[in-house]
């Protein structure tokens, strides 16, 4: 296995890991958004979806641990690359002007760290129930975990909703570069379809952001779940 370790710890190899884990995480955000958009289909649909996920039992844990491992690997690769890149230029320019580099491409570590902080908060909010324990403990008429009321009550608070909105802007920034960049890193990109990859990736990233923004904003402005009161 030495060949694999040696091959993947080079600058090019680490980017393979970055791209593959990033692609997996990107696809997860798409699936996550599609699942959660069921909030618009009403309490019964969303609570049934959540109960269905819980029923997967051991499979759910395989998925959770796989996701966690991918997330951790993505972060470790990022830190390794940042360290390598910072060491490569110990003295900075007095004047440096980007020529073609987009804002998103130059700020991946910043947007990534903001998304990391958000994920920690998001898990504490909806998965672990640490920040709003009273919302987390709610049960619906059938005795299921009342995800619908938990989400609605959470997003009725302007501070909570706003933090999600801000996080989604940075997630969008991160994905708009990462989703197109992974094709280049993996060597799948060719000139003749680079505009397709970049366009499709940015489009899908935009879709994830808009879908995820629709939930907190529609609840905050009482378009959805106005019947729910604390």
């Amino acid at each position: 296995m030495r060949w694999l370790w040696q091959g993947l710890t080079t600058s090019v190899g680490t980017k393979f890991l970055m791209a593959l884990t990033g692609m997996f995480l990107f696809l997860f955000t798409v699936a996550h958004m599609v699942g959660n958009l069921q909030v618009f289909a009403g309490p019964d649909q969303l609570n049934a979806y959540a109960a269905g996920l819980k029923k997967l039992g051991p499979l759910l844990w395989v998925m959770r641990l796989g996701l966690l491992a991918t997330f951790v690997a993505h972060i470790l690769c990022a830190f390794s690359l940042v360290k390598r890149n910072e060491e490569a230029r110990p003295v900075q320019y007095a004047v440096k002007r980007p020529i073609a580099a987009t804002y998103a491409s130059r700020t991946m570590i910043m947007s990534g760290l903001i998304v990391l902080a958000f994920v920690v908060y998001h898990l504490a909010h909806f998965t672990l129930g640490w920040t709003h324990g009273d919302h987390f403990a709610l049960r619906d008429a059938q005795g299921r975990h009342d995800v619908y009321r938990m989400v609605v009550l959470g997003f009725q608070s302007p501070f909570v909703a706003l933090s999600y909105v801000v996080a989604m802007v940075f997630l969008g920034l991160h994905l708009s570069h990462g989703a197109a960049s992974l094709f280049q890193s993996m060597g799948w990109n060719r000139k003749k379809y680079s505009c397709f990859f970049a366009g499709a990736a940015r489009g899908l990233a935009m879709l994830v952001v808009l879908g995820n923004l629709a939930m907190p904003l529609s609840i905050l402005f009482r378009l959805v779940g106005q019947e729910v009161t604390p």
Binding site: R2, W3, L4, G7, L8, T10, S11, V12, G13, T14, K15, F16, L81, R84, N85, E87, A88, R89, P90, V91, Q92, Y93, A94, V95, K96, R97, P98, I99, A100, A101, T102, S105, R106, M108, H177, A180, S181, F183, Q184, S185, M186, G187, W188, N189, R190, K191, S194
Partner: protein
């Protein structure tokens, strides 16, 4: 034209260095950037000061010697040109121009604007060649090369090794340079037998020299005076992936 120059002055590799302001007077718009520096240096010599050290050789954009960071852009604001072919007509009277050397751990400053780019030579030594036992000269066109491949190989071979890609990259990465070397031999039949070993050795040598990794920002291709496309980086990544998975452990 009259210009204000802020030039990086550094007496030697161990000197801290600093930006020094000079006035460049009576600059003709037809001068090249290096000719403008020559005129400034003549003034400095007349005043008994040390002239600004900078690299130059052919002064026709083909050797890759000149290497100035001009207002934060390698080889200055004009696309697809080296510093020696940048003319002063691209600037306005009264402009302030900041001139710095390439900044990278792998390119230590020797003096003022001159950096040591022998890290590139060491990368080439690791695999930027083909091994042929020489004998009688083969007939021309003995090995058929499809025209599109020959064109691609030539696009890559247009690299003059100036280091603008490294200078422009936020990570001081040499990916565009290395990928051009990988592609230039990889498109040709003569380069096939060593293709896998070449990409592995070049990437390892690039890392060993202390260059950064790629963030796919594409400032390198925008800064390249020979307009070498970042498409070659994707091709190198493809070659590296295939070389990694192929062969015996």
């Amino acid at each position: 034209m009259n210009l204000t120059l802020k030039v990086w002055r550094q007496a030697g590799p161990s000197d801290r260095g600093r930006l020094v302001t000079y006035e460049a007077k009576h600059v003709s718009p037809d001068m090249s950037f290096l000719e403008m520096l020559d005129v400034v240096n003549e003034d400095l010599i007349a005043r008994g000061e040390d002239p600004i050290a900078f690299d130059s050789d052919c002064r026709e954009g083909i050797c890759g010697a000149c290497s100035c960071m001009i207002d934060g852009v390698p080889h200055g604001p004009d696309r697809g040109t080296t510093t020696c072919q940048l003319h002063m007509r691209h600037f306005k009277d009264g402009d302030t121009i900041t001139i710095e050397p390439w900044r990278a751990r792998a390119f230590p400053v020797l003096k003022d604007l001159v950096v040591d780019r022998s890290a590139f030579d060491r990368i080439i030594q690791a695999g930027g060649f083909i091994s042929v036992n020489t004998g009688g000269a083969p007939d021309a066109n003995l090995i058929p090369v499809p025209k599109p491949d020959a064109d691609k190989a030539f696009d890559a071979a247009a690299c003059i090794g100036c280091g603008a890609c490294v200078a422009a990259c936020k990570n001081a990465s040499a990916m565009l340079f290395v990928s051009a070397k990988v592609a230039h031999l990889g498109y040709l039949p003569q380069g096939q037998s060593e293709r896998d070993a070449r990409v592995r050795n070049l990437v390892m040598a690039m890392d060993a020299q202390g260059f950064g990794a790629c963030t796919n920002t594409y400032d390198c291709e925008a800064a390249c005076p020979k307009e070498i496309p970042a498409d070659f980086i994707s091709r190198m990544n493809r070659d590296y992936r295939s070389a990694l998975l192929k062969g015996d452990a």
